[in-house]
Symmetry: C2
Subunit: 146 residues, 2 copies
C-alpha cells in the first residue's frame, strides 16, 4: 500500500470522460488486451479488448444525439505495487442534446487493475445490480443498505 | 506474482466445504472483519462480518435437511504478495437428505483477498448473474459466451 495517485480514481475519471465523449478509443485504452469482463447486461462474460470494443461501439452508437453522464459514488480502493482493486456505485444518466435528463440507472462495479511499468490497465471488471429473490428482476435503483 | 499455493483456490475449496457442512463459523473464517460484499440477492451491499454472518445463518437455516453442493468452474486468479484476485462461475445445487438433486443455479463470482501474515481473507466479494435487457430478469443458467 502506498501513496501514489490512486489508479482506481484515475481510471474512473477517464471512464467518465470517455463515456461522455462517446470516445471508443479512449474507453478501450483503459482496459488490458486480455481483459475479462462480467458485465451486467446479457452475456455471462466477455474476454478480450475486441469483444469489449464491440460493446462500446454498439453502446455509443445507440445513443445517437444523447450523452451519458456517469456519476461514481461510494468509491473504495486498495492499492498495492502491482494490483489495484476498486469498487463503487455508478449512476448512468442519459441526457438529450438539449441537456434534459431522460433516464438513469445504477449499478455496482468492481474493477481490478494491473500495473505494467507506469501504466495501469483494467484486467477484470464486474458490474451488476442486485436481484429480487421472488421476481428474479434486477433492481436498478441504488438504495443504501450498509 | 509467485508460486505459493493459490489463496483463491484455497478459499474456494474451503467455501465449498463450509457450505456443504452448513458451518457458519468455517464460512465466516474466510472473510475479513470489514468485508464489503456486493451480493447477487436483494441488497446493494453488505459491510462487515456481522451482516455476512447473518446472511449465512439465514441461508443455512433455510435449507433444513437439504445440502448445497458448490461447483466452481472457469477459475482464474492473479496473485501478488499482498493481494489476490479471483473470478469463477459457481454452480449451487441443492440436494435432499437422500442425495436427490432438487434445483441448481449459476452465478459469477469475483473475490479479492488480502494477506495478513500467513493468512488470506476475503475483503471484497461480488456475485451476480447477467440481466436480460428487455425483461430485466436475471439469467441463472450459465452459457459459455467467451
Amino acid at each position: 500500500m502506498n501513496n501514489q495517485i490512486d489508479p482506481v480514481i484515475k481510471m474512473i475519471e477517464a471512464y467518465k470522460a470517455a463515456v461522455l465523449a462517446k470516445n471508443v478509443d479512449a474507453f478501450c485504452a483503459l482496459y488490458a488486451a486480455d481483459v475479462h469482463i462480467f458485465d451486467m447486461w446479457g452475456q455471462w462474460s466477455m474476454r478480450g479488448i475486441d469483444a469489449w470494443r464491440a460493446m462500446a461501439q454498439g453502446w455509443f452508437a445507440s445513443l445517437d444525439t444523447e450523452q451519458v453522464i456517469v456519476d461514481a459514488n461510494h468509491i473504495e480502493s486498495v492499492i498495492t505495487d502491482e494490483l489495484a482493486v476498486g469498487h463503487a456505485i455508478f449512476t448512468y444518466t442519459a441526457v438529450s442534446a438539449e441537456g434534459e435528463k431522460l433516464r438513469s440507472l445504477d449499478n455496482r462495479i468492481t474493477v481490478v487493475l494491473k500495473r505494467t511499468g507506469d501504466s495501469w490497465k483494467v484486467i477484470h471488471e464486474h458490474t451488476s445490480a442486485p436481484i429480487d429473490h421472488a421476481t428474479l428482476k434486477a433492481n436498478l435503483k441504488y438504495a443504501d443498505s450498509d
